[in-house]
Symmetry: C2
Subunit: 320 residues, 2 copies
């Protein structure tokens, strides 16, 4: 590619980066480096490292860098307001300090918003407007792209779709409220629901069937469900129901052309989630809202955030 920007995605355990052309072209998967600590200097250092690696794919120069951060951000100034998984970043003047360290213009964006933009720009949401993105990982993130722009709201915190209430008297969410989508349709929610559903089993029987209770993962529960385990199947059916309720809500709010479901959980359990998800959407929305609504799996996988951050950087320099 000729000119490029670098898109970066900072996670709780590592940093990814990829060089992206103005047309969205990029050479293969993002580079990844692990974070050794969660200190601010470590995050800054690893971003600098991985941007330098990715820049090798951009021999004609880097125009700008876009960085997705796992944080509520104060925009447009680009400061970290609250980073639950990287608390040492709280209060960080991220855009300014990253720009100084990298020697390039830097825009920052919430990681789920960046992933939403990535899917809308180059992934499953291409050409779909409005597009709503739900990222099902450890938690549930969200982002909304309207007319080619990320919806930010008053202070940059729009699109927190994991905390849509789906069951007002339901399971307790990590945020403290009851019945959030995230309490059902995240990795954490799936594991919790499976442990609750099997709480009647004696410890030894659980261990024989499923192994160590404290090390159970959502991926294991998905594999159990796919292999016919009734409890695991129920857990995913309920997660699909919760997702369907939320997608129905979002359909009434946005009349979207696309709802894109990303994140590891969606990629690994689409067939388990889909039947109940679609049943709820069908029951809860009129035909006029379902017409022309595509509900799709994400296409960019773990690179959605880095690609989206790159797309936002291109917008910033006025070329995409």
């Amino acid at each position: 590619m000729s000119d490029a920007v670098i898109g970066v995605d900072v996670g709780g355990t590592g940093v990814r980066a990829v060089a992206v052309g103005a047309d969205g072209s990029h050479a293969g998967k993002a580079q990844r480096v692990a974070l050794k600590t969660r200190a601010r200097a470590e995050v800054l250092g690893r971003v600098v490292d991985v941007v330098a690696q990715a820049a090798k794919e951009a021999p004609d120069g880097v125009r700008a860098v876009g960085v997705g951060l796992p944080a509520f951000l104060a925009l447009p100034q680009g400061e970290v307001r609250l980073a639950p998984n990287l608390p040492e970043l709280n209060g960080w003047a991220a855009a300014e300090e990253l720009s100084r360290a990298l020697g390039h213009p830097v825009i920052v964006e919430n990681d789920a918003n960046a992933a939403a933009y990535g899917e809308a720009w180059q992934g499953a949401g291409k050409g779909l407007d409005p597009m709503v993105f739900l990222g099902l990982g450890t938690g549930v993130g969200g982002g909304i792209v309207l007319g080619g722009e990320v919806l930010h709201g008053r202070a940059g915190m729009a699109g927190e779709l994991g905390h849509l209430t789906v069951y007002p008297d339901g399971a307790r969410c990590g945020c403290g409220a009851q019945g959030c989508l995230e309490a059902y349709a995240s990795g954490t929610g799936v594991v919790r629901a499976f442990l609750e559903d099997t709480a009647g089993l004696p410890e030894a029987a659980f261990k024989d069937l499923y192994g160590d209770r404290t090390r159970l993962t959502a991926r294991q529960v998905a594999e159990l469900a796919a292999a016919g385990d009734a409890a695991a199947f129920r857990v995913f059916a309920r997660a699909g129901t919760a997702l369907g309720i939320a997608v129905g809500q979002l359909a009434h709010v946005f009349n979207p052309a696309g709802v894109v479901l990303g994140g590891r959980l969606a990629a690994g359990a689409w067939d388990l989630l889909w039947p109940t998800l679609w049943e709820e959407v069908s029951t809860r929305t009129p035909k006029a809202l379902r017409e022309g609504l595509s509900i799709l799996p994400a296409k960019l996988g773990a690179d959605a955030g880095a690609v989206g951050a790159a797309g936002l950087a291109w917008r910033h320099v006025g070329a995409a």
Copy 2:
């Protein structure tokens, strides 16, 4: 005023119109004429009549007419897709035929969206962006104003906030789904809930206390609640809870600066709805989303739709 546009609001039983200057100035309340039938020709005729009346307040001429219609509209062409309360309008090329009959440029908009725009432009939502409007009347309408624009979505049907699911297994809504906001926080929902809550009373006792069961209105239930009737009080407390759940959902979606509650039910029962509404919002949203969020009663009353339609007509002619 010098130049004016006329804003029109078509309801199920009558048509309102008001002349509005580019700065939002208007002389008093909207004119109103009743609809004698629900035929298309009657609607068209009464719009022409009431626009002529309102035009008397615009001696320097009418630049355009904005018309709010109680219908799903196909936009931008301005056709009626579905008008549940005026079914003879289904399929009507409203913008085109109204423009021909009135001899002015005409823009049409869904009535709740027009009311939302009115409150954002000249009412309680002035200066608040994003602004979410909920109109609590016979049903619950909604509208969202983002960056000074009504959110339309793919086909003009965004903002159908009355059908946000608040209790997935809850009361049956007129739309066929269970647990929509409208099933709790509309006039219809309040009457239904009160009749359910008092279903244990013998017919004669009900009649002594509350009068004819078949003629009960939401206004009566509000008066009963304000006077200390326990069943009526519970009904409004539950309506407030449902509203609080929905406002919490919308706060996570939009990070709004304002949520404006309009419609007769909000105007007449604010103090009954507020305590449980605010309790749910406080429980279900983080402080960062509540900061800078104003939840306010609407200011324009029954004229919100006509004023908003006028504002949209001004935008259309490029002057507001």
